[in-house]
């Protein structure tokens, strides 16, 4: 190697060492772990550890709870991601509009859920959605509708969690959209107005195409993030009722930290990782076909 190459290596080495120690090594250990049946008994003596190769994965794929958790997670992603991004986009466009007053206050208010503690707001949401005393059900009743058992009915628990997560998270993407909106040249809008385009046509033909790369990025990040649903059901429902809010990550937590089945938990993690890679690749492919990225 030349001196230059050595110098370059010396510069990246610290970063590589850190990445290796805190990322590559743990991931490799996790992968090895997922091929064993590491559990409480293995903690006593390594004699009790068995190589099970892909048994953990195969057992998981045969386990109804895993599919249920996967179904719940996909449900959450499919409904939650568009809802969350739609809210972000709507709020960003709203805050950009010259018709809206008190922008700094509104901006702060809309961004506030992102920076508040999840556990604290979850407590408030649990009160809001309480079957008997919740504000939401009271509103329904004044409209003459029957109250809904939001967090206790397996059919409603996940929609409630989706609403909660969308509300909690849309502020972050809103900021990104606002930044992107400011980069759209205003003469495009002026030209469109002169051509007689109404507000919807302007949004449809100028704002949306201009935001397409941002939307793709936000979409991929949000999807990857939403696949890792955990904290919301953990604090709101503990996975219940009837496991209707158990997500893949929740299943992993239960297996790993509650029951100490680290082998199974690791294989859940790798399955989820594989799934997220597949989905984000599919999103990218879709975007390429549409000519965005």
């Amino acid at each position: 190697m030349t001196r230059k190459a050595w110098a370059g290596l010396a510069f990246v080495l610290p970063a590589l060492a850190v990445i290796g120690l805190f990322f590559v090594v743990p991931v490799a250990i996790g992968l090895v772990l997922s091929l064993t049946d590491f559990d409480l008994y293995a903690l006593v003596s390594l004699r009790n550890l068995r190589w099970v190769w892909f048994d953990n994965y195969l057992t998981l794929l045969r386990e109804p709870l895993f599919w249920k958790a996967l179904g719940n997670t996909v449900y959450f992603v499919v409904l939650g991601v568009p809802l969350s991004i739609g809210l972000s986009l709507g709020a960003a466009v709203l805050l950009q509009s010259p018709l809206v007053r008190f922008k700094p206050v509104l901006r702060t208010a809309l961004f506030a859920p992102v920076v508040t503690t999840l556990v604290a707001v979850a407590v408030i949401w649990r009160y809001l959605f309480h079957t008997r005393y919740g504000l939401v059900n009271e509103a329904l009743q004044t409209l003459g509708l029957n109250p809904v058992d939001w967090l206790g009915d397996p059919r409603w628990s996940m929609p409630t969690i989706i609403l909660f997560a969308a509300w909690k998270n849309f502020g972050g993407n809103m900021i990104i959209f606002m930044a992107a909106l400011q980069a759209v040249p205003s003469d495009l809008y002026e030209a469109a107005r002169i051509d007689g385009a109404n507000a919807w046509a302007q949004f449809r033909h100028i704002t949306l195409p201009a935001l397409a790369p941002t939307t793709l990025m936000v979409g991929i990040l949000t999807t990857a993030g939403y696949f890792q649903l955990f904290a919301e059901p953990y604090v709101m429902t503990q996975g219940g009722p009837l496991q209707s809010t158990v997500s893949v990550l929740y299943l992993m937590y239960d297996q790993g930290f509650k029951w100490w089945n680290l082998g199974v938990a690791s294989s859940v993690a790798f399955l989820l990782f594989g799934l997220i890679v597949l989905v984000t690749r599919a999103l990218l492919k879709l975007a390429q076909r549409g000519g965005v990225a």
Partner: protein
């Protein structure tokens, strides 16, 4: 293996050094390192107040209390074991004893207890004592007890025409129906995410819940099916709503309003109900032993034990502290501070306890508590049982099919245990 030990040694030295630093600065006299005591939740908060007497008697033994929240306790214990950092003494939920016993983390106390005249096995409630015996060895001393029994509204029951709490299942059903007739629509609360009620009903049957040396489920037995059928009938006949405890936001308020008249709960709720029930209903509620299939029935044997860890280098000193906590008068003071019920019969002579009729119902129940099977997987098994039962309650699955489904999934949970058992290691 040698590499491993020496690494552990290095780790221990490092940890030891870290632990010694604050001590050195606090100017501890040369009486040796203090005994490390891990207390959990409320007990961890008040235990320091009980230590004065111990310090007076044993000026040479320092005790350092470290508090753990219950929610993190289980993980902390296992991590401490993996990292060679277990304390000398810990408070342990007695369903965890089997788990730590499987890790060989606990010191057997048989010899120490036999040499201590103040620790009398026969003075302890039998079911509670047995939760500390794993594989024939005594691994902990019961510290306080917890079981489930009935909290009931005496006034509502009187209006329904009964002057006493139910004694058996039939009478319980008759009372539930009578309560419905006077307008209490769902007179019973059975939160569908709590396993204790069904477990208590199952323990009343006398049939073991696991078989083949605790390596297979025994839930498809006539006994468990009877318990499950009764449990489900309480829900299917509309006596109890299908709800989780998350949905009953304030049990005390609802109980005070008379939305329900029966509630299965533990000793801590005596204090809570006393504090939170409206003054007008001060005497309108009471507690009663759990009704069984025919006559008063058994219930769960919960609570906490005090254990000494195998890696402790000061077991005799640590046992002195256990012995101190086992004294009736210390248990009495502990009751005053926490409301936790003592595991020794002689401790129940403590004035505050003897005068409390509601607590005495627990004493009666404690004579009839049965321990759960001592396997490390128990918590998972019992959660699984409840999940199946809740599903059956919501979807109307029949009893036999549910029992078989529980067995199938319990057998899967115990697969590793069977493998170990076949090799003589479980």
């Amino acid at each position: 293996m040698t590499v491993r030990t020496s690494r552990r040694g290095v780790l221990a030295t490092l940890l030891g050094a870290a632990a010694a630093l604050p001590l050195a600065s606090s100017g501890c006299s040369g009486a040796g390192a203090p005994l490390r005591f891990w207390g959990m939740g409320r007990e961890g908060e008040v235990v320091a107040e009980l230590l004065d007497g111990f310090r007076r008697e044993n000026p040479g033994i320092e005790v350092q209390v470290e508090q753990l929240p219950w929610t993190a306790a289980h993980e902390k214990l296992l991590t401490a074991f993996a990292g060679d950092a277990t304390p000398d003494i810990a408070q342990l939920g007695n369903t965890w004893v089997a788990e730590l016993a499987a890790l060989d983390a606990l010191a057997p106390l048989d010899a120490l207890a036999a040499a201590a005249p103040s620790v009398q096995k026969d003075d302890y409630f039998d079911g509670i004592w047995r939760t500390n015996i794993i594989g024939g060895r005594l691994l902990g001393l019961p510290w306080y007890v917890d079981t489930r029994l009935l909290f009931y509204r005496r006034d509502l029951l009187a209006r329904a025409g009964f002057d006493h709490p139910p004694r058996d299942w039939d009478e319980w059903r008759r009372q539930l129906r009578a309560l419905q007739r006077i307008g209490v629509e769902q007179p019973l609360i059975l939160p569908n995410n709590e396993f204790e009620p069904l477990l208590a009903l199952a323990l009343q049957q006398g049939e073991p819940l696991l078989r083949d040396a605790n390596t297979r489920g025994n839930f498809a037995s006539p006994g468990f099916e009877r318990a499950l059928a009764f449990y489900l009938s309480l829900i299917r006949d509309g006596f109890a709503p299908v709800e989780s405890d998350q949905q009953i936001s304030n049990v005390w308020q609802e109980f005070g309003r008379g939305r329900f008249a029966f509630y299965l709960s533990g000793p801590w709720n005596i204090g809570e109900f006393r504090r939170r029930m409206p003054a007008a209903l001060k005497d309108a509620w009471s507690t009663a032993p759990l009704p069984g299939p025919s006559g008063p029935g058994a219930s769960t044997a919960g609570g906490s034990s005090l254990v000494i860890f195998e890696r402790s280098r000061r077991k005799p000193e640590a046992f002195k502290l256990l012995e101190y906590f086992a004294r009736p008068e210390v248990q009495g003071r502990f009751y005053d501070l926490t409301g936790d019920l003592p595991p020794r019969k002689s401790s129940w002579a403590w004035p505050a306890l003897a005068a409390d009729a509601r607590a005495r119902a627990f004493a009666a129940q404690l004579e009839r508590v049965r321990p759960a099977p001592p396997v490390p997987e128990w918590e998972r098994i019992v959660n699984d049982m409840q999940l199946h039962a809740a599903k059956a309650a919501a979807e109307g699955t029949d009893v036999a099919a549910t029992a078989q489904a529980i067995d199938a999934s319990v057998d899967a949970i115990l697969a590793k245990r069977r493998w170990l058992h076949a090799r003589g290691r479980a």
